[in-house]
């Protein structure tokens, strides 16, 4: 063997998305110290939360560092430029922490025309999709007694457009399940006023709010909603309340906000790399940094599990086609659940490139003495993940 296998890793370590990467160093250390980790050299690049920069560093990793495989995490703004580059360069790439639709459709020439969509040959993605989040959100809402009137906060960005997409997004599914959706339209990120949305929601008697705003926008919306006397029974929000700090920013008004949960210390999975349980991994992070666990930890870890597993199954790590084939053939029990590109739960066009991981729903609950805990309240699509309580109305 001798020469180490070269992995490139791109993530947003600085800039507005940096919270996604706060556990990177911890995970990387863990990987380096693991048994198989010794066979790898990981070259880490910072996208600076900038899509232009992400594409540039991907190019550098491929061309200058001659990596054997690319790993990339966190939001379509990072995963998409990197994956596009890898695909063009024919370098195997595994990505995660972006719903698969914005990842897959977002890289198609004309996202509006499904007939033109093409599969990827070197790029693979594991995460959940909008259908999962829709399932989780509606399951949570169904636990409550509501008028089934939903208000949408979809920004004009990769996530918002995917969530609000009339074909693959929320609208058709909600309609099927008897929900009415009030979607005033795609606003720009960093909007300072949401009175238009609030008025629209009030008019439609909205009792459930959903959406995928960035944290500052959700705070603005939520504060303004309270001021305007608009208090829905449920607010299931993606992205904005992913991190505990963001919920804490809402003061006491974050209580019982709900969100998707992709990974938590109570997920009953173990690392294929170290054997650690989810709780061990989260606890280790908190011990090492003094910070509360966050969801990306598991997925970033799983990314390296994937790398180790895939490379263990190829003879020549420099043979891109063989590596790509090995990725496609993955059957890995990882810390975020089973990862296999078998097309389960996916439409045909994405079947080859996407593997889905389980998703459950949680609510942030105010902790005595300050701070919030994320409590899993719905596991209908992944019953093996235990719940910690039932869905509660926002008072």
């Amino acid at each position: 063997q001798g020469a180490k296998i070269r992995l490139g890793y791109v993530s947003p370590q600085s800039g507005p998305l940096a919270a996604f990467s706060e556990a990177d160093q911890y995970i990387l250390n863990g990987f380096a110290n693991s048994e198989v980790g010794a066979n790898f050299e990981v070259i880490v690049k910072d996208s600076q939360s900038n899509p232009n920069r992400a594409a540039d560093v991907a190019g550098e990793l491929i061309v200058d560092d001659e990596i054997d495989m690319m790993l990339v995490a966190s939001t379509p703004e990072t995963t998409n430029p990197v994956t596009t580059t890898c695909e063009a360069e024919e370098v195997p790439c595994i990505s995660t922490v972006a719903p698969w639709q914005p990842w897959f459709i977002g890289q198609q020439g004309n996202p509006g025309d499904p007939s033109s969509w093409e599969r990827f040959y070197y790029s693979y993605h594991f995460f959940w999709g909008l259908e999962d989040i829709i399932g989780v959100f509606t399951a949570m809402w169904n636990q409550l007694d509501t008028n089934k009137s939903v208000g949408a906060l979809y920004p004009n960005d990769g996530d918002g457009n995917a969530w609000g997409d009339p074909v693959v997004g929320f609208p058709p599914v909600l309609a099927d399940q008897g929900y009415t959706l009030s979607d005033p339209g795609r606003y720009q990120n960093l909007t300072d006023d949401f009175s238009a949305q609030i008025n629209a929601f009030k008019q439609s008697n909205v009792e459930i709010v959903t959406g995928v705003p960035i944290p500052p926008d959700f705070t603005t919306f939520w504060t303004q909603a309270k001021q305007q006397g608009f208090t829905p029974k449920a607010a299931s929000i993606g992205k904005a309340i992913l991190f505990p700090q963001a919920v804490e920013a809402l003061g006491d008004t974050g209580h019982n906000l709900s969100s998707e949960v992709w990974w938590s210390p109570s997920h009953p999975f173990n690392s294929s790399l170290t054997g650690e349980s989810s709780a061990d991994l989260a606890g280790g992070f908190t011990a090492a940094t003094g910070r509360q666990w966050t969801q990306p930890i598991g997925f970033v870890h799983a990314l390296f599990e994937m790398a180790a597993d895939v490379m263990g199954r190829v003879t020549d790590s420099g043979d891109a086609d063989a590596v790509a084939e090995a990725i496609a053939a993955s059957q890995l029990e990882s810390i975020v659940g089973r990862i296999a590109f078998d097309g389960a739960g996916l439409p045909p066009f994405a079947a080859a490139n996407v593997a889905k991981t389980p998703l459950v729903g949680g609510q942030w609950r105010l902790r005595d003495g300050g701070g919030y805990d994320l409590v899993i309240v719905d596991n209908s699509s992944a019953p093996n993940i235990p719940t910690g309580g039932a869905m509660e109305e926002i008072s």
Binding site: A19, D192, A196, N199, T220, Q227
Partner: protein, 287 residues
């Protein structure tokens, strides 16, 4: 009724923009200094308040009162030793130096505070509101608007009723002749920026209480502040308020039509005003 609400919310939003813009207006009006770091200075002040709140356990308003003199000093030093050296007929030096400052400041804050979004603890005030007829008017936005008006009245008093204000106007008109009067333009400019930093502190307080902030949000707010100043006309503080309100109301009306047009509507209003009145609504007679 929705339209009334839309306009009212827009006016209140305009108050926030005017508050962001008032300090800029002061500096721009007196020195023609385009300070691209203004938004980042607001963010910096917000962090300063946050530190005081978390470390000393002060309530936000008190923390802002403590932060104000610190910001005043920072403003004075910044102007005296850095920005004064860039003033002149060429607009590039101030543009580039404040651009550099903006980038440096953002990244220093990022290094110090991480990219996590933060907010000042506000308690009940942030969500309480007054009910007037069918309208709900948030207490915090109202307070913001009232503060904007108070700041503008205060600055106008300072400008037109004190000898310092006289010196501001004289130096702004003609620094060379002002120096013949024994006025030190360098000091006057430093004082102006220092005062602008007091307003910045107030803006930071409301920014931090209203919603999240992180080290990178400065530039997005800067553009509205500039628009308010320019729409209002160079050196007119009431004009700045009017400018802020125009941007705010355009945004809410645009959003009421379709949220897609919200921010665009503000920009378009700005462009339209400039198309009709290239020097803003209330330009100074002589310039």
């Amino acid at each position: 009724m929705i339209w009334v609400d839309t306009v009212v919310q827009g006016v209140l939003l305009g108050g926030l923009y005017a508050l962001f813009a008032a300090g800029l207006s002061l500096v721009f009006g007196i020195m023609r200094l385009v300070n691209l770091a203004h938004g980042d200075l607001i963010v910096m002040a917000a962090y300063l308040i946050l530190v005081l709140v978390t470390v000393l356990g002060l309530p936000p308003f008190l923390a802002a009162a403590v932060a104000a003199p610190v910001m005043f000093g920072i403003g004075w030093v910044l102007q005296k030793y850095l920005l004064n050296r860039t003033l002149g007929s060429d607009i590039l030096p101030p543009l580039l130096v404040t651009f550099g400052l903006s980038i440096a400041l953002q990244n220093a804050l990022l290094e110090g505070f991480s990219a996590d979004s933060q907010r000042l603890p506000t308690g009940a005030i942030s969500t309480s509101s007054l009910e007037i007829g069918a309208l709900n008017i948030g207490v915090l936005p109202l307070l913001t608007f009232a503060s904007a008006i108070a700041v503008i009245i205060g600055l106008n008093q300072l400008f037109y009723r004190t000898s310092l204000g006289r010196a501001f106007r004289a130096t702004s008109d003609d620094p060379v002749t002002a120096s013949l009067m024994g006025i030190k333009p360098g000091h006057v400019f430093a004082t102006a920026t220092a005062i602008a930093m007091l307003v910045v502190t107030l803006a930071a307080l409301y920014l931090g209480m209203r919603a999240n902030f992180d080290p990178n949000i400065g530039p997005a707010r800067l553009i509205y502040a500039f628009q308010a100043v320019i729409i209002g006309g160079l050196g007119s503080l009431w004009g700045t308020l009017a400018g802020g309100v125009i941007i705010g109301v355009s945004q809410t009306i645009g959003a009421a039509i379709n949220p897609e047009w919200q921010i665009l509507a503000g920009h378009v209003a700005f462009l339209l005003v400039l198309l009709v009145r290239p020097r803003g609504l209330f330009p100074r007679a002589v310039d």
